[in-house]
Amino acid sequence: MKFKDYYAVMGLARDATQDQIKQAYRKLARKYHPDVSKEADAEQRFKDVGEAYAVLQDPEKRAAYDQLGSGPKSGEDFRPPPDWGTGFEFGGGAAGADMGGDSDFFEALFGQRGRSGARGNRQAAPADHHARVLVDLEASLQGATRSFGLRVPELDAQGHLVTVERQLNVKIPKGIRAGQQIRLAGQGFSAPGQSGAGDLYLEIAFQPHPLYRVDGSDLYLDLPVAPWEAALGASVPVPTPGGAVQLKIPAGSRGGTTLRLKGRGIPASTPGDLYAVLGIALPAADTEAAKSLYAQMAAALPFNPRASLGV
C-alpha cells in the first residue's frame, strides 16, 4: 500500500486552517469535476481530491492522519501502525465527493465505512450501475459492436469488496449521439441480499475523430481549398461518412465560409448535417515557376489584405 500525502494532493501546507482546506477543495473540485473538466485525468484527480478532503475537513480524521507524521513520502510503501486510530471516532459525516472507489490507503486507515455514502448499501433492491464509455464515431455512423472493459465492484469469497474487470461486448445502435444512454437490462452487478442484478447504463462519449468534429448530430469538417478554387468556384471531392461526394464551392468563397451538406451528419430519423468549413491552402513558393506566379499576382492585383485594419 502506498502512502498518500493528502496535503500535497490539495496543494496545502500541513498547518492549513479548516477554511483554507475548504477553499482549496472547492477550487480543485471545480477544476477537476468530471462534468466540467476536459483534462484527461480529471476523474482520477477529482477522486484523489475528494478523498483528501474527506480526511482533512474532518477534525477527528485529520488529527488521526496527522499522527502519521510527515515521515512517509507520497507513493512510499506504508503500513498503518498497530495502535493507529485508537481513540478516534470515524462515524462518517464526510461532506466530500462520493464517487466511490476510495484508495486502499484510505480504506486501511478509515475503513470502508469511513465515508458516509449517499450511494450504495442503501436498499436491498438490485443496484443499477452507471458507466461512461468512449466509442469511435464510426460506431455511431454505421452501428457496430464494441467491447468495453468495465471495472465493477464485486464481493469475493471472503466477502470483501473488490474491483474486477468485466469485459462486455455491446451493440452500439446506429445514430447514437454523445451523452445518450444505453440501458443493458440485468447487466448491473448484484450484492448479497439482493434479488438478481440491476441494469447497467452506459453513457456514450466519442473519441476524437481525425476528420470530423461532432456537435450533437451535426459534423464539422475542415475542407482545404486552393486559392483559385475559392476565388473562381470549383467542384471538389469531400469525404462524408457515407463516402466521398462532389461539393460545389461558390466563386468568391473565403476562408471560414461554411457549406452545409444536408443530412450527411449522424444518421437518425432526422439526420444531422455535415458542415464543410473552407480553409484556403496556399501552394508553396518553392519553385521558380511558383515564385513567378506569386510575383505576377503581387504586381497585377491591387489587393490590400489589411484594408479592414485601416493600414
Binding site: 445518450q180 464539422y220 482545404p224
Partner: protein, 111 residues
C-alpha cells in the same frame, strides 16, 4: 452473478424521442423524484405536458439530470447556479466543436 463471458449484449437507447414518466426517469438516472421536480421548476429539464402526473421527460435529459445532481453535491452549487453552469457548459461544448474550423482559430488541420 452475471456471466463474465464476453457475449454480445444489446440494450435500449434513450434519445430525445424517448418520453419517460417522472418515475421512469427517476429510476433510469438514479436521481430522486424530488430533485427532478426541482430541476423542472428551475427550467433545467423541460417535460412535455403541463400537470406533473402527465409529465413526459425526454431521454436526452438523463445526462443533464445526473450532471446537475453531481454538481450540486460535489461543488455545493445551488439550483440556479447548476442551471447556469449547465447552460454555459452546453455552449462551451458547442463552441469546442466549432473550434479549429477557422483558419486563424487554432492554426491546425490546415495543410
Amino acid at each position: 452473478m452475471n456471466s463474465k463471458l464476453p457475449t454480445e449484449v444489446s440494450g435500449f437507447l434513450y434519445t430525445s424521442e424517448t418520453l419517460l414518466t417522472l418515475d421512469e426517469f427517476s429510476r433510469v438516472c438514479a436521481v430522486e423524484r424530488r430533485q427532478i421536480i426541482e430541476l423542472v421548476e428551475e427550467g433545467v429539464l423541460v417535460p412535455v405536458g403541463s400537470r406533473m402526473e402527465e409529465w413526459r421527460l425526454p431521454g436526452d435529459g438523463l445526462r443533464r439530470a445526473q450532471a446537475a445532481v453531481r454538481l450540486q453535491r460535489d461543488l455545493g452549487v445551488n439550483l440556479a447556479g447548476v442551471a447556469l453552469a449547465l447552460d454555459l457548459m452546453d455552449e462551451l461544448e458547442h463552441l469546442r466543436s466549432l473550434l479549429g474550423t477557422h483558419p486563424f482559430g487554432r492554426g491546425r488541420r490546415m495543410p
